[in-house]
Symmetry: C2
Subunit: 460 residues, 2 copies
């Protein structure tokens, strides 16, 4: 399969260029060279693919572990076939255990549990209803039976398929509805050929339960990956990314490029870009996390909604940063003297907001009440006031061209927006801290900024 995929991808990409080459060189006239060239090309592509796979594993070694776990679960459940006493009691129904493992085993515990519970409950309910449908259809005689069964199958499939469009249900029970349609159809239709429907439902339910529990047990006991933990980390790291941008923005914006050096050559602060599109990922993780039992510092009914709220505010801030970023490398830049007048306040605003976001991110990561974040936010707010005073004081002389003021004014104004957003984020993180009773730790030395030390933070 892998080999097929690689070949398919390659053929997809290179069909055109390969065929042109073939025509050019003339397959018949020159013999093997084009094929040699092509095989070399395939070799390069295959090597590229493997190095890509190795990188995937290095980026997140949990992926390798997950793959091994999936292999293990499948091998374990295939014992149903190999071990005679087990095979005797289940027969070919053991197949359902294998199928369950393949489709239920997911990367995180939450996703696995969600699918497992959905599959189990849906099988139970659909099995029960299908037995009822079978009994009803039985009453309608030899000719009527398939018609009644057909009507039942049609109705339940249509209704269940329609209910799957409901967003709230889709988010949590989509897989359950799919399995409901599947089981109801299979059992009620099979009932037409096999009168032992109860036995059928019983075996199917049991094998699904065995397959599902195998998945859940392996997923929880062997190096578990918690979706809740991932969401927690994602929210914190998104905030950190914005913090990194803001900490670097002031210097990057106000530093004049040396002669011959383009601003574009400088190291970019583009890490925040991934935050713009993180909504889908956050929503999915929150949905999985809701299935997870208590683990580590996370309870069963952990306030995941609050995480989503923080995530939405972080994205709102990221949109402002995206606008700011546009000004970082804009063609028209304000003159040096105009920029230098507000350089200090703007840099402080940006730097302090950045520090606040990094503090808040660290607070979430360590689940310790954010201590210095409020100070940083106060600092950034007082910078906003300083800027107001500066602007009111008529620092600019009368000859200043307003046109040159506009880019600077925009940057300042966007930074003011960012300060507001940061304050909102801080508020919702504080709400989370109250909900989860974050630890209060007397600050000694900040683990992040050993060079400044926490005590100085009020004046930094």
């Amino acid at each position: 399969m892998q080999a097929f995929l690689i070949t398919f991808c390659i053929s997809d990409m290179d069909l055109e260029c390969a065929s042109q080459e073939t025509v050019k060189q003339g397959l018949l006239a020159r013999g093997w060279p084009p094929i040699k060239g092509f095989s070399k090309h395939v070799k390069t592509k295959v090597l590229e693919f493997f190095s890509h796979l190795i990188k995937l594993g290095q980026d997140d070694p949990r992926r390798v572990v997950h793959s091994l776990k999936a292999g293990l679960a499948l091998t374990l459940v295939s014992l149903f076939y190999y071990y005679q006493p087990l095979y005797k009691s289940f027969g070919v129904s053991a197949m359902w255990a294998v199928i369950t493992v393949v489709v239920v085993f997911e990367f995180s515990v939450g996703a696995t549990l969600g699918k497992g519970v959905n599959r189990g409950l849906a099988t139970l309910l659909a099995g029960g209803l299908a037995v009822g449908a079978h009994q009803l259809a039985n009453l309608s005689g030899q000719i009527g039976e398939p018609i009644v069964l057909g009507i039942f199958v049609f109705l339940q499939a249509a209704v269940s398929t329609f209910v799957r469009f409901c967003p709230q249900i889709k988010a949590r029970y989509d897989y359950g509805l799919l399995i409901f349609i599947l089981t109801f159809s299979l059992i009620s239709i099979s009932g037409f050929r096999d009168d032992e429907v109860l036995e059928l439902v019983h075996k199917r339910l049991l094998t699904v339960l065995i397959g599902g529990s195998t998945c859940v047990i392996i997923s929880v006991l062997l190096f578990p990956v918690w979706a809740g933990q991932d969401l927690h980390n994602l929210i914190a790291s998104n905030m950190e990314k914005l913090g990194i941008f803001l900490e670097g923005f002031g210097d990057e914006y106000f530093k004049m490029p040396e002669d011959g050096e383009s601003k574009e050559d400088r190291p970019l602060l583009q890490g925040y870009k991934s935050v713009l599109d993180s909504k889908t990922n956050e929503d999915a993780l929150a949905n999985f996390a809701r299935w997870e039992p208590r683990h580590g510092r996370f309870q069963f009914r952990h306030p995941w909604k609050q995480y989503l709220k923080i995530g939405a505010l972080t994205r709102k801030c990221a949109y402002r940063i995206e606008s700011l970023n546009g000004h970082l490398y804009a063609d028209i830049q304000a003159k040096r003297e105009i920029r230098s007048k507000i350089q200090e306040t703007c840099t402080t605003m940006s730097m302090e907001s950045g520090k606040a976001l990094k503090e808040l991110s660290m607070a979430i990561k360590t689940m310790v009440k954010p201590f210095a974040a409020d100070i940083h936010i106060e600092n950034s707010k007082s910078s906003v006031k300083n800027l107001d005073t500066l602007l009111k004081s008529g620092l600019w002389d009368d000859e200043t061209d307003l046109l040159e003021v506009v880019p600077v004014a925009t940057v300042a104004s966007l930074l003011i927006d960012v300060v507001t957003c940061t304050a909102e984020i801080a508020e919702s993180v504080n709400e989370l801290a109250t909900m989860l009773k974050f630890e209060v730790v007397e600050p000694t030395v900040s683990p992040e900024k050993p060079e400044t030390g926490q005590p100085k933070i009020g004046i930094s």
Copy 2:
């Protein structure tokens, strides 16, 4: 299942409030009233759920049609059980046709085709490999066979699971890999108990093909839903949403609220918000669309990538609009006299960009070369120049407080960004028009703005 879901949702939401009520009123002391109240509550919730479902159907009647199509496909394929000659040749293997229909039948033709092709090819490949694995394992004797089979199953499951992490493969072949793992495991393990593996593979492949083709045929012939068409419409309507915002922005921003009327009371221009998060949807539709054959004005290798490019530029513009929107309802607004000075140019910039976006959207929708968009963009660009001149001319008197200029300058600057974004969007739409050879239609009267008429458009 539906009833279960409703009850589950309700119990989830109302458990706490219901139990509080129960405690307050005293179940034993007062008898039935709490239960009555609870059942009334359930009734309301159920009614709400059904009205929600009806709304889902009204919003997009294709959902109702899809549900009926799913029911039909399933009923058709269940004939394998009811019709004796068919049952005779396939037996319980007919089950695979039912399963295939349930899991492969998707909303759009592209998604159904993609899943069908994935399932068919993966079954073929995995079946072939599993037969090979079975032969190899056979050579290792009674005791060695399960061990060799176990190793094969473990290895292929682990490797395939890992390859599924590769984003490019996940986007198009994820389902194929899942079915590959499933089929390989099932066939190779079953081979241990049943020596007729070839027969098994053959039946399975045939039933999967029958189920898959049933889905594809129904999906294509009966009221087809094309993912390509949906992507096309989504890109166009996203652009239109931004256009609507921009057309309304000028009036909304510069109109002073009457006494006692808050700006928040005015009708909001919030339709653009959905554009911010549309990336996932666009990516999914583009992936499905790639599977679709030629239909209507769309070819098999339609330039879907260009649609994604236009979508990304539209989102970039939406981020700027999100910042603009923040200024629409900001607490601090610039003074009336300051705003009125740039009101005309800013309103023109916004209005012309909005018109250009709506023209471009209409051009995509009708696949006609955008005619007036360039004129609108030129108009908006010349407004930018007017603004420059206005700012340079020192329109403001010396006593103007710079602090009051900042919000206006920001709005102006963001509008300049929007004009740039619009020009970029127009360029990529023109690229698309060239790729797809959009029709050139001599404009007579714009179907969108009958009150102005196209001929005036150059000076509007």
